[in-house]
């Protein structure tokens, strides 16, 4: 696992935006072999989306041959609702880039057969040969996607009841009316995320500091589902200074010291790829 620390959320967004752009461009996606990207919602990834939009407008990045899968969507919330994840993704990202609508996949929280919808989603991911890079964020309770504390670390896309913490945190988007916050969501599972060839997680703000510490300084634990990332061979977490508040000084120093070899790792990875060796080499431990 790599941990990259930047001064503020904007710098975090630029770092991840550039990183993803490089991965897409190096991949040289085509209509037959598109780059498959997993995407989150929430406030943390917004600076990343802003930077990606800038790169598209500058012409140095295109989503013409990118297929996206979103992590989650509320159940029963109309697609046009101002807080639905369809609305979020369109407003914050898809409307500003050049992705063809047919290449965008978001779970349908209004499907008649919700279980069928989830299974079809997993199947569709497989059809595309799995996800190349999954970008994620975390909740204050350490959840990745809507995999709340206690979720199975082997979980797949499914219906999930939201934790009370999450409902409280989201009430601010529903006029502080707790009753108006949806109680359920469809979400990819922890295992769905871990299946992707690479995972990049954005963590910003002091409120996420404890969750970050639990996820990377303690053991794998289903009460902090992000900790499952420790089992992934090619994971990157990018955080701002505020989010490091609960980390040991030792941890911060260690990750800062290994950042400088990042480029070498990248170069090695590219070289292996060029030789047709697909084995990921991201782990520094």
């Amino acid at each position: 696992m790599r941990l990259i620390i930047r001064d503020d959320p904007t710098s975090v967004g630029e770092y991840i935006g550039n990183y993803i752009a490089k991965r897409i461009n190096d991949f040289k996606p085509t209509p037959e072999n598109p780059f498959v990207l997993g995407l989150p919602t929430g406030s943390s990834p917004i600076p990343t989306y802003k930077h990606l939009i800038k790169l598209v407008k500058e012409g140095s990045l295109s989503f013409k041959n990118v297929v996206t899968f979103n992590m989650d969507e509320y159940v029963g919330l109309p697609r046009d609702h101002s807080e639905s994840y369809h609305t979020f993704m369109f407003r914050e990202f898809f409307s500003h880039i050049d992705i063809p609508p047919s290449q965008v996949n978001i779970l349908d929280g209004n499907a008649k057969d919700l279980i069928g919808e989830c299974n079809a989603y997993e199947a569709r991911i497989k059809e595309f040969g799995g996800i190349e890079l999954f970008l994620g964020g975390i909740g204050e309770d350490g959840h990745i996607a809507f995999n709340e504390p206690g979720s199975s670390l082997a979980s797949r896309t499914r219906i999930k009841t939201l934790a009370y913490d999450t409902i409280l945190a989201n009430a601010r988007f529903f006029n502080n009316d707790i009753a108006a916050v949806p109680r359920m969501a469809l979400t990819v599972g922890v295992a769905t995320v871990l299946d992707s060839r690479e995972v990049v997680v954005v963590v910003s703000g002091q409120r996420k500091a404890l969750a970050l510490s639990k996820a990377i300084e303690e053991g794998v634990n289903h009460l902090w589902t992000l900790s499952a990332l420790q089992m992934h061979p090619w994971a990157l977490i990018v955080v701002d200074e505020d989010a490091t508040a609960e980390l040991h000084v030792k941890t911060v120093k260690y990750f800062k010291s290994i950042e400088r070899v990042q480029d070498e790792v990248e170069a090695m990875h590219d070289a292996l790829r060029a030789k047709g060796i697909e084995e990921p080499v991201g782990s520094m431990e």
């Binding site: 697609r79 046009d80 369809h86 369109f90 898809f94 500003h96 609508p101 978001i106």
Partner: protein, 493 residues
């Protein structure tokens, strides 16, 4: 190409007067504004054509609900030749787009009675693929007050002794048919069509005709009137929803009987369903118009001069009526105003800097911003390319044009306006100090709402007609779009 256009890098005026940085998607073929998100997720399409507006403002097209003519054509002149008249309508509709106007309501000043049915029938909703929309008609007169007739011909003014039947007799029953029937005649039930009548509610029979007029889907506007506060209020309670060119052709604001202008400050105290009863001097508030009426009668004996504007309002200030005290509980919520029994009417302002002083414009807007509608009230001479100097009018009379000022030759009588609506918007923002977005609202959403067509015109709502104007940050028109097609573009200087 899939016929969809995305306007990007632009500011969109919202219905609350704010400006937001956002894209707008339209369907060029159907000529409508799209719900971008639905188009993306349900139609699975995104626009093939992207128009970068370079930070300019993309506004709904302007709407002028009172305009007498332009580019040499006068809506009030009909020489018995339908083709010629239609050609004139077409000329105005096609040229006016350079001023950012995409919808207008041709206005007819008082005519000889027999001409109305014919002209109003010609003024059904009309547009060509590259022109602004003529939305219907605005009949200003003949049921107006002699004392406030302005440039209207005194010999053609009439009372409405038979109430609504008198209106039908003058305008033609077919032209006052129920909205659906009237639109049906037009052949396109989907068309947006409006009718406005400006009349003085104190004229005999007019007040009794207001309700039926409104029921037929015609907007009743108070104007060219000396209605006292009581009468003006009663007209609004019966359904009048507009005031014609506020401040002009009406009694000036008097604090004891604020008359028509005072409607902008209508007090909940007087408008409530349980309004307190007057205790004394029932007729006192009418003194102002009474004195005027007396002098008027005297004046009628002489033959009125066509060019003379109006009479001085009054000699004796009337008394403010005395109302019985009410003892209901007072509310305790700061910022809230007690509910009114009726909505205050919209009001038209000519913001050429001549017909109303900037202070007056700001005073009206501050009193009731939601009701403000900018109009040009322009004469046929309106043409931004016309040079200053002497121009022919009619009956041997000639205009002198001096910037936005227009006189009858040899007099200092204002002969109407020659200001364009885009200039009114710029003036309005300067005069009131409001933002450009709020000024735009007064030339788009407010008039559309007054006419009840705000779902189709004067708005950027999904489903509305893609009638648009691009403005730079100074409020100058860069390009104009009608039904999704660019119909005018400023020449690169």
């Amino acid at each position: 190409m899939n016929g969809l256009i995305c306007f990007t890098n632009c500011l969109l005026p919202r219905e609350d007067g704010s400006l937001v940085e956002q894209d707008l998607w339209i369907d060029e073929r159907r000529g409508v504004i799209l719900d971008a998100q639905r188009t993306f997720f349900l139609r699975k399409e995104r626009p093939d054509r992207i128009v970068d507006l370079g930070g300019n403002i993309l506004s709904p097209g302007f709407m002028d609900i009172q305009i007498n003519g332009a580019y040499g054509f006068d809506f009030s002149v009909y020489d018995g030749n339908d083709e010629e008249y239609r050609e004139g309508m077409k000329t105005v509709a096609e040229k006016i787009v350079e001023t950012g106007v995409t919808s207008l309501v041709p206005t007819l000043i008082t005519q000889e009675k027999s001409l109305y049915p014919k002209i109003l029938n010609l003024l059904r909703p009309f547009s060509t693929p590259t022109s602004a929309n003529l939305l219907g008609w605005h009949a200003e007169g003949p049921f107006i007050q002699l004392a406030k007739r302005g440039a209207h011909a005194p010999q053609f003014l009439v009372p409405a002794h038979e109430q609504f039947a008198s209106l039908e007799a003058v305008y033609g029953a077919a032209n006052l048919a129920d909205r659906e029937d009237w639109l049906m005649e037009t052949g396109d039930t989907d068309a947006v069509g409006v009718r406005i009548i400006t009349a003085a509610p104190e004229i005999d029979g007019v007040m009794a005709a207001v309700e039926e007029t409104v029921k037929r889907g015609v907007v009743f506007s108070i104007g060219h009137s000396i209605a006292s506060t009581d009468i003006a209020t009663a007209a609004v309670q019966r359904g009048a929803r507009l005031i014609t060119h506020l401040f002009n052709a009406m009694p000036q604001l008097h604090h004891r009987d604020p008359s028509i202008i005072g409607l902008l400050g209508a007090s909940p105290h007087l408008s409530a369903p349980m309004s307190p009863k007057r205790v004394a001097h029932t007729h006192a508030p009418l003194a102002r118009s009474d004195s005027l009426t007396r002098r008027l009668r005297a004046a009628e004996q002489e033959s009125p001069k066509a060019a003379s504007e109006a009479f001085d309002d009054l000699l004796t200030p009337p008394q403010t009526p005395i109302f019985a005290n009410r003892d209901s509980e007072l509310h305790l919520q700061k910022g809230k105003v007690t509910d009114m029994a009726f909505e205050r009417p919209f009001y038209e302002l000519i913001v050429d800097g001549i017909h109303s002083h900037p202070n007056s414009v700001r005073l009206a807007y501050t009193a009731y911003p939601e009701g403000c509608i900018l109009i040009t009230d322009a004469m046929k001479i309106l043409d931004p390319h016309l040079r200053d100097g002497v121009h022919e009018w009619r009956d041997g009379k000639r205009f002198v044009k001096e910037g936005d000022k227009l006189y009858l030759e040899g007099t200092d009588t204002l002969a109407g306006s020659v200001v364009t609506l885009d200039k009114c918007v710029r003036n309005f923002s300067r005069f009131t100090g409001c933002s450009l977005g709020e000024a735009i609202k007064c030339a788009t959403y407010n008039p559309a709402k007054c006419l009840g067509i705000e779902a189709k015109k004067g708005t950027l709502r999904p489903g509305a007609d893609a009638d648009l104007v691009v403005l730079d940050r100074k409020g100058y028109v860069q390009s104009t779009w009608v039904k999704g097609k660019e119909v005018w573009r400023k020449n690169a200087a």
